[in-house]
C-alpha cells in the first residue's frame, strides 16, 4: 500500500443555477491575458448540449484519455513512438473554431465616432487578429438550451443513448455542468507530454504545467479527454486549471468554489492507494470503472490506513483533514457523488452529485407531488431519459449507481420535508435507500446547510512543514527582507549615509555599468 493524498472537489449539481460566477472569477484570476482569450479553466455548460470545446466528449474524434487493449492501458491517441511521429502536426488537436473565435468589441467607436445621424455602435472584433469578426459560436452558446433543437442532438452523450430525446421546450430536461480540470489520478495529459513538463504534485495531487519546461508540443491538449489543457497561442505554452494552488496552500478554497453563489462546491482530502491506480484504470468493463475507482480510495478512519499514511510521509494534519473530508463523505460514505466520464480511464477527481431536479420538475409538471418519496422513486424509474443521460455522463451508462444516488437524494427530500412540516417521519424511508435517519440528516446538513467550514476542509501546505517554519521563526528577524542585517538586493534607508550611492536604489544597465 502506497498512500497518497489528493485534494478533490465535489459539485452538487442540483444547486447550480448556471450563473457563471465561477467562470468569470476564474477568468479574471487566471486567463485574462493575451493568448488565452479563448480559454476557460472553469466553464459551465448546459446539458444536454455539445459543450466546450464542441463535442469534446466524442473520443472517437479527439482520442483523449486511455483505452484498454489486452488488459493493458494505452493512450487513446497512440503510444510514445506514435506521439513523436505526429509531433509536427497533431492530428487530434482542436482548432480555435472548435472552442470559439474569441472576440471583443470596438468600444473606441462609441466615443470617437464622428457626429452623425446614427448612434455609433461597437462592432465585434476578433481578439486574435483585430479584424472585424462575425460571432458564430461562443464558450456558452447553448446556455439554458438555447438552440437546443438544432444543436443538442449533436451532444455525444445523447447520441450514445441511441434514443429519441426531445428538445422542444416543454418536453426537454436540462441542468448545468460546471467543469474544471479533473486533476486525475491517472492523468493522460501528463502521460502525453513529450517534454515531461506536466506533473502531478506528490503532496496534493494537483496537476500542473511547468512553464519553463513546456516546449509547446501540444500533445497534452489532445491527450486530455476533458479538453482542459489549453494552448496559449501567444507564449506557445500549455496552460491549465491550477486548482488555485496558491490559495489552497494557505488553506483557502479555489476561486471558483469561493465565489460560487449556490455554494455547491466541496473541497477536501482523499487518501488513495497509488499502487492500485493502474490496475483500477485498466478494468476491462467500463461500467465497472466507477466501482474500481471507489476501490482505490482508502478509509482515513482505518488505523492501518492512517499508519501507512504517516509512513508515506503524509503530514498528520492532512490525515485528520481526510477524516473530516466532505468530499470523502459524499463520494465514499453516502455514494451520492459520481465521477464525470469514468470511461476515459483517467480516474478523475472532480465528482458530481447528480441533479434530481429534472426528475422533480417532470413529476411536478404532471400534477403529482414532486417531493413525496413514493412518487419520486416511481419517477426516477419511469423517467428513463434523464436517468440514462446522467448515467452516460457519470457511470459509462450503468444506471444503477445514478439511481441509488437519486433515490438517496429523494429520500432526503421526503425525510426532511416531514421534519420541517412537523409530520411523523417515515421510519422505513431511509432504510429503503440503505441509510439511517441520522445519516440522512447529516447528509442533509452537508448538502443543504452547507456551512463554509463544512464545505472546505483544506489542510495548509505550511502546517505540514511546521518543523521548517519553526526554524525560520527562530532566525534573527533583522536578517529578513528590508532589515538592516540584510546584505544584498535591497536598499536599506536606515543605514544609508548621504555621501553614499546605494546600490539597488537606481537601476543598473545590463552588464552592471552604472548610468
Amino acid at each position: 500500500m502506497r498512500v497518497m493524498a489528493q485534494l478533490a472537489m465535489v459539485m452538487n449539481l442540483d444547486k447550480c443555477i448556471g450563473c457563471h460566477t465561477c467562470s468569470v472569477t476564474c477568468k479574471q484570476t487566471w486567463t485574462n491575458r493575451g493568448g488565452v482569450e479563448y480559454a476557460w479553466f472553469n466553464n459551465v455548460e448546459t446539458k444536454p448540449g455539445q459543450g466546450y470545446p464542441r463535442r469534446y466528449e466524442d473520443q472517437s474524434r479527439w482520442k483523449g484519455g486511455w483505452t484498454v487493449r489486452n488488459g493493458r492501458l494505452r493512450l487513446a491517441g497512440g503510444g510514445r513512438l506514435r506521439k513523436l511521429l505526429n509531433i509536427f502536426a497533431n492530428p487530434d488537436l482542436p482548432e480555435l473554431d472548435d472552442y470559439y473565435q474569441p472576440w471583443t468589441y470596438d468600444y473606441r467607436n462609441l466615443t470617437e465616432a464622428p457626429l452623425s445621424e446614427d448612434i455609433p455602435v461597437a462592432r465585434p472584433l476578433s481578439a486574435v487578429t483585430g479584424a472585424p469578426a462575425e460571432v458564430k459560436w461562443g464558450p456558452n452558446w447553448e446556455d439554458s438550451l438555447g438552440g437546443a433543437p438544432q444543436h443538442a442532438p449533436e451532444d455525444p452523450v445523447v447520441q450514445k443513448l441511441g434514443r429519441d430525446v426531445r428538445f422542444e421546450y416543454e418536453q426537454s430536461f436540462m441542468f448545468f455542468l460546471p467543469r474544471i480540470c479533473e486533476h486525475c489520478l491517472n492523468p493522460s495529459c501528463v502521460a502525453s507530454c513529450p517534454s515531461g513538463a506536466m506533473y502531478k504534485r506528490t503532496e496534493d495531487g494537483i496537476v500542473l504545467v511547468d512553464q519553463d519546461r513546456c516546449r509547446g508540443w501540444r500533445m497534452c491538449v489532445s491527450g486530455c479527454p476533458y479538453k482542459k489543457v489549453y494552448f496559449n497561442h501567444k507564449t506557445g505554452k500549455a496552460e491549465k486549471c491550477t486548482f488555485c494552488y496558491p490559495r489552497l496552500e494557505v488553506g483557502q478554497p479555489t476561486v471558483c468554489a469561493e465565489t460560487c453563489v449556490g455554494r455547491l462546491r466541496y473541497i477536501g482530502v482523499m487518501l488513495y492507494d497509488a499502487d492500485k491506480v493502474g490496475a483500477a484504470a485498466a478494468t476491462e468493463d467500463e461500467q465497472r470503472l466507477y466501482q474500481a475507482q471507489l476501490g482505490v480510495f482508502l478509509d482515513p478512519h482505518d488505523p492501518a490506513v492512517a499508519a501507512a499514511a504517516e509512513q508515506s510521509g503524509i503530514p498528520h494534519d492532512w490525515i485528520t483533514a481526510a477524516r473530516r473530508s466532505p468530499v470523502y463523505e459524499l463520494i465514499a460514505r453516502y455514494r451520492v457523488a459520481l465521477p464525470l466520464h469514468p470511461e476515459y480511464r483517467t480516474m478523475p477527481m472532480v465528482w458530481y452529485v447528480p441533479p434530481l431536479s429534472p426528475v422533480v420538475d417532470a413529476l411536478s409538471g404532471t400534477g403529482f407531488d414532486g417531493e413525496e418519496a413514493g412518487n419520486l422513486f416511481g419517477a426516477i424509474d419511469a423517467l428513463r431519459i434523464p436517468l440514462d443521460y446522467l448515467a452516460g455522463l457519470f457511470t459509462a451508462g450503468d444506471p444503477e449507481p445514478v439511481r441509488l444516488a437519486l433515490r438517496r437524494l429523494g429520500a432526503m427530500r421526503a425525510h426532511m420535508r416531514s421534519i420541517n412540516l412537523g409530520e411523523p417521519t417515515d421510519q422505513r424511508g431511509p432504510g429503503r435507500v440503505g441509510m439511517t435517519a441520522a445519516e440522512i440528516e447529516s447528509m442533509y446538513r452537508l448538502l443543504a446547510i452547507a456551512k463554509y467550514a463544512d464545505r472546505y476542509v483544506i489542510p495548509t501546505a505550511g502546517i505540514g512543514r511546521a518543523h521548517e517554519l519553526e526554524g525560520i521563526a527562530t532566525r534573527c528577524s533583522l536578517d529578513g527582507d528590508g532589515g538592516p542585517g540584510m546584505v544584498d538586493g535591497r536598499t536599506d534607508l536606515f543605514t544609508w549615509r548621504d555621501d553614499e550611492r546605494p546600490d539597488g536604489m537606481f537601476p543598473t544597465l545590463r552588464g552592471g555599468a552604472r548610468p
Binding site: 493512450l75 510514445r80 513512438l81 506521439k83 513523436l84 509531433i87 509536427f88 502536426a89 497533431n90 492530428p91 488537436l93 482548432e95 480555435l96 476578433s126 486574435v128 487578429t129 483585430g130 491517472n186 492523468p187 501528463v190 502521460a191 507530454c193 513529450p194 517534454s195 515531461g196 506536466m198 506533473y199 502531478k200 504534485r201 506528490t202 503532496e203 496534493d204 511547468d210 512553464q211 519553463d212 519546461r213 513546456c214 516546449r215 509547446g216 508540443w217 501540444r218 494552448f231 497561442h233 507564449t235 506557445g236 505554452k237 494552488y245 496558491p246 496552500e249 494557505v250 501546505a461 505550511g462 527582507d481 538586493g489 535591497r490 536598499t491 539597488g504 536604489m505 537606481f506 537601476p507
Partner: protein, 240 residues
C-alpha cells in the same frame, strides 16, 4: 587579399558561428527558458499545417542525416566499405534530392500558410521575419548545389567535406574552399548565418527534441516547489 578574405570566411567565421551558437544556447537556456518553445500555430490553422509541417520536418531530418554522412564520413571510408563512388553519388543524389524536395515543398506550404492565414501572419514575430528568408535561402541554395553536383559532376567530398572536418578538428584549412563552386559557398555562408540566429529564434526548439519521452514513465510526479506560492516580493528595481 583573396587569402585574407578566404581566411575570414572559412576559418574565422565558422568559429564565430560556433561561439554564437553554443553561447547563445547557453544564454537562452539560462535566461529565457520560458521563451524556449515551438510557438506552434496549429491552433489557428491545421489543414495546411498537416501537409506542410511533416513534409518539411521529416524532409529536413533526412537532409540533416545526409549532411552528417556526406560531411563527416570521409570518402576513403565509404570506399573501404566497398561502396563505389559512382553508386555513392547516385544514392546520395536520389535520397538527398527527394528529401530536399520534400523540405522545399513543405517549407513552401508553411510559408504560404503563414502569409495567407491572418491569425498565423499576426503571430509572426520579428525574428521570424529574419529567420524564414534565411532558412528558405539556405535550403534553396542547398538544393541548387545538389542539382549542380549532378550536372557538372562535382565531387564535394574532396573539398567541402574535408574543410568541414578540418573546422571540427580545430585545424581549419580555408584553401580547400577557395575553388568550390559559388552555390556551395553561398549555401555554407547562409547556413552559418542561420546557425548564428538559431539560439535567438524559434528554431531553438530543435534542441529540445523530446527523445527522452520514449523511455520515461508515463506519469510524472514532482514534489512541491520548496518555496510556498506566497513568496517574497522582488526588490523594486530588479529588472530581471
Amino acid at each position: 587579399m583573396t587569402d585574407a578574405f578566404d581566411l575570414l570566411l572559412w576559418a574565422v567565421l565558422p568559429y564565430l558561428t560556433l561561439v554564437v551558437l553554443v553561447g547563445g544556447l547557453v544564454w537562452r537556456y539560462r535566461h529565457d527558458r520560458f521563451g524556449w518553445t515551438t510557438r506552434s500555430s496549429q491552433l489557428h490553422e491545421s489543414r495546411l499545417l498537416r501537409i506542410g509541417s511533416p513534409l518539411f520536418h521529416f524532409g529536413l531530418l533526412f537532409v540533416i542525416g545526409g549532411h552528417v554522412a556526406g560531411l563527416l564520413v570521409p570518402a576513403s571510408v565509404t570506399r573501404w566499405l566497398g561502396v563505389h563512388d559512382e553508386m555513392y553519388h547516385l544514392v546520395s543524389f536520389t535520397a538527398g534530392g527527394l528529401a530536399g524536395a520534400g523540405t522545399v515543398v513543405g517549407l513552401g506550404v508553411l510559408l504560404y500558410r503563414r502569409w495567407r492565414t491572418p491569425a498565423v501572419r499576426r503571430a509572426t514575430s520579428g525574428d521570424d521575419r529574419l529567420m524564414y528568408p534565411l532558412l528558405a535561402a539556405t535550403v534553396l541554395l542547398g538544393m541548387t548545389a545538389t542539382v549542380l553536383t549532378r550536372s557538372i559532376d562535382y565531387d564535394y567530398r574532396a573539398t567541402v567535406s574535408p574543410w568541414f572536418r578540418s573546422i571540427l578538428l580545430l585545424d581549419p584549412d580555408p584553401s580547400l574552399m577557395s575553388a568550390v563552386p559559388l552555390p556551395y559557398r553561398l549555401h555554407a555562408l547562409f547556413a552559418m548565418a542561420l546557425f548564428a540566429l538559431w539560439p535567438f529564434s524559434r528554431l531553438v526548439h530543435a534542441f529540445s527534441a523530446p527523445v527522452h519521452y520514449l523511455i520515461r514513465p508515463y506519469i510524472v510526479y514532482r514534489t512541491r516547489d520548496h518555496r510556498l506560492a506566497s513568496r517574497r516580493a522582488r526588490p523594486g528595481w530588479d529588472d530581471t
